[in-house]
């Protein structure tokens, strides 16, 4: 059919469409009597018109609002070698799923990036670079990036699945934040410092991006990824920032120079750290807070310096924050007493086991034998736990608070058991020999008193008022 014929079809259709059906057909037959091809085409189209019903009559997005969402993978769906378990979050960067890596059988967090972010090759390349840099971070306080996957034209980042709550949740719910603020700041700054030492900047540090795992440690998520979430055009970026803050980052935590789209360095993270810790300690964002610096104390001073408007007045990087916090709370010296305490109690356990052996040698009965074996076992368990605490106090100070919380029920039980068994052992040997009995009673009292009196003191010295 020629272009002229097409135009004639259109004109005839438009003139016929408002007539009623039978009338229209007769009219078309008359009007296009000279060209059967045109006539048949118009009649066919009129027939389709009368039968089209609701066809295309409502915008597709009204019919299928889910098309506005980008790629909601359902549970059980496969993306490459990953099987989706459930969606755990979404943001401007895309959706995050809890998924299973079928190759290794491990659970991962799979962040499927929004198509808008990975549409052009330059952005994909930038994402690859950032993921590579983030994958180099192996600090326990930073969520590990496993892989950058390209599946059917989509980009997804597979990383460690962190089970826990975000600091945003803690700000909303946790009651004893004031006492937890200092150790939280210390742990967060230490993790951030390890990235800064490698020249990697987070760029979007905020309470939503920091999680506390179920066993109490902090993990920073999404390192360096904020950078790729910014389209190249400055004006568009500015528009996006003011209109849809969620989409391209979080202005509420951004340093002034970052908001102005200037070159940023570790000091932008230092600023965000300050805002985050302020909010954590007070429960309120500093811009909304009633008083300019409601925290006070050494932590308040550190936070205030982090939030200086001029970058040069802030700490140069997170390592300097760590130093400042350590000066503010002189933990290393006090943790030394905690460390010594653990070593001494290990010595007491050892003495208890040896004493029980000697008592069994002097008076061998099923009970003394059983007590020797039990004390040996209890001393071994207690020794391992306290040895672990001693090493943590020396080598991994930020983890100490969490490890102590974890082991305290066990060490307490060990102490009471050891004390009780030594007492029974002493009572059994007393009729035979006085000296071992005296040793046993003394050791029993010593272990129990160390647990009741000394340990709270050395713990308080190591952690301040925090329990």
């Amino acid at each position: 059919m020629t272009a002229d014929q097409q135009r004639r079809v259109r004109d005839l259709f438009e003139q016929a469409v408002d007539r009623d059906a039978a009338d229209a057909a007769a009219w078309v037959r008359a009007a296009a009597a000279d060209d059967p091809a045109v006539r048949d085409e118009v009649l066919a189209l009129l027939s389709h018109h009368s039968r089209a019903g609701e066809f295309l009559s409502h915008p597709i997005v009204d019919r299928m609002p889910s098309l506005l969402d980008d790629e909601p993978y359902a549970a059980g769906a496969s993306i490459g070698t990953y099987t989706i378990e459930r969606e755990v979050g979404r943001g401007g960067m895309g959706r995050v799923y809890r998924a299973r890596d079928d190759r290794l059988g491990r659970t991962v967090a799979l962040k499927v990036l929004a198509p808008a972010l990975v549409g052009n090759p330059a952005q994909r390349e930038r994402l690859r670079r950032e993921a590579r840099a983030a994958a180099a971070l192996t600090h326990p306080g930073i969520c590990i990036v496993y892989a950058l996957e390209e599946i059917d034209g989509e980009l997804a980042i597979a990383s460690e699945f962190v089970d826990g709550v975000t600091l945003r949740d803690e700000i909303a719910t946790r009651l004893d934040r004031a006492s937890a603020a200092l150790p939280t700041a210390r742990e967060l700054a230490a993790a951030l410092a390890s990235a800064h030492a490698r020249g990697i900047i987070h760029r979007d540090l905020k309470p939503e991006n920091v999680m506390r795992t179920v066993d109490g440690r902090l993990k920073i998520l999404d390192f360096g990824l904020a950078r790729i979430a910014q389209p190249g055009d400055a004006e568009l970026r500015a528009a996006a920032l003011t209109r849809t803050g969620v989409l391209l980052g979080t202005p509420a935590y951004m340093a002034p120079e970052q908001l102005r789209h200037e070159q940023v360095d570790a000091r932008a993270d230092v600023f965000a750290f300050g805002v985050l810790m302020y909010e954590y300690a007070c429960g309120e964002h500093p811009l909304r807070a009633a008083r300019p610096n409601a925290i006070g104390g050494p932590l308040g001073d550190v936070i205030a310096r982090c939030m200086r408007e001029v970058p040069a007045e802030r700490y140069a990087n997170a390592a300097e924050i760590v130093d400042a916090l350590d000066r503010a709370a002189p933990t290393p010296v006090s943790a030394g007493w905690f460390h010594t305490h653990q070593i001494v109690v290990i010595g007491l356990y050892l003495a208890a086991a040896i004493l029980a052996w000697q008592i069994k040698e002097r008076r061998e009965t099923p009970v003394t034998l059983a007590l020797f074996l039990a004390l040996g076992a209890v001393a071994a368990v207690g020794g391992v736990l306290r040895g672990h605490l001693a090493f943590t106090a020396r080598l991994n100070r930020p983890r100490l608070a969490a490890e102590r919380r974890r082991t305290t029920p066990a060490t307490r039980l060990v102490d009471w058991l050891a004390g009780a068994m030594l007492f029974v052992d002493g009572a059994l040997i007393a009729p035979v020999r006085a000296l071992p009995a005296v040793f046993a009673f003394a050791l029993a009292v010593g272990i129990v008193l160390a647990a009741l009196v000394l340990e709270p003191a050395t713990t308080a010295a190591a952690f301040g008022e925090e329990r």
Partner: protein, 175 residues
């Protein structure tokens, strides 16, 4: 803005067209689905980045709206495709299909087939295809479409009817 001002290159137009795209997305949002504003904005971003990347030389806002609606079509079709639309579409027999078209069921399954038909329609009558992009994919009303295409609402209404009839046949609906 004049339709043939050579001074306005794509970059200078970017903020304007971004605004225009948002107006397009606004057509979705006016239907008041709470919670979807962000998604609609993300869709606009996606469309914008595609346009910027393709370096499509648009010369005025009206022209731009046409291309933007077309790129929205591509995005929506791809999303439907990713969800296995073709498989579900192929599973419909002819009778079911005619009924489905008439009651607009399985519309997302239809999208890839519709997109192919649209590509044929573009070669036959590009104007009709643009009307479909604006009405069906970008969600503009008759009046908004008329405004964007510099046609009268009555003309848009009649050509929209023609486009629907044409596509109905292409998709295999019984006459």
């Amino acid at each position: 803005m004049s339709a043939d001002d050579p001074q306005l290159d794509a970059q200078a137009l970017a903020p304007l067209v971004y605004h225009e795209l948002r107006r397009l997305a606004g057509a979705y949002m006016r239907r008041e689905r709470p919670g979807q504003t962000l998604q609609a904005t993300a869709l606009v971003h996606e469309a914008y980045l595609r346009l910027a990347d393709a370096g499509t030389p648009w010369h005025d806002q009206r022209h731009f709206i046409g291309i933007a609606a077309r790129s929205m079509r591509q995005i929506l079709v791809e999303r439907a495709r990713a969800r296995g639309a073709q498989k579900r579409w192929a599973a419909l027999d002819r009778v079911t299909l005619t009924d489905a078209l008439a009651v607009a069921a399985h519309e997302d399954a239809m999208l890839p087939a519709l997109d192919e038909a649209m590509q044929r329609l573009e070669t036959v009558d590009a104007e009709l295809a643009r009307i479909v992009d604006l009405r069906f994919f970008a969600g503009l009303s008759i009046e908004e479409t008329a405004d964007a295409m510099a046609l009268s609402p009555a003309t848009v209404k009649r050509r929209w009817a023609l486009a629907r009839a044409w596509l109905h046949r292409e998709l295999g609906g019984a006459a």
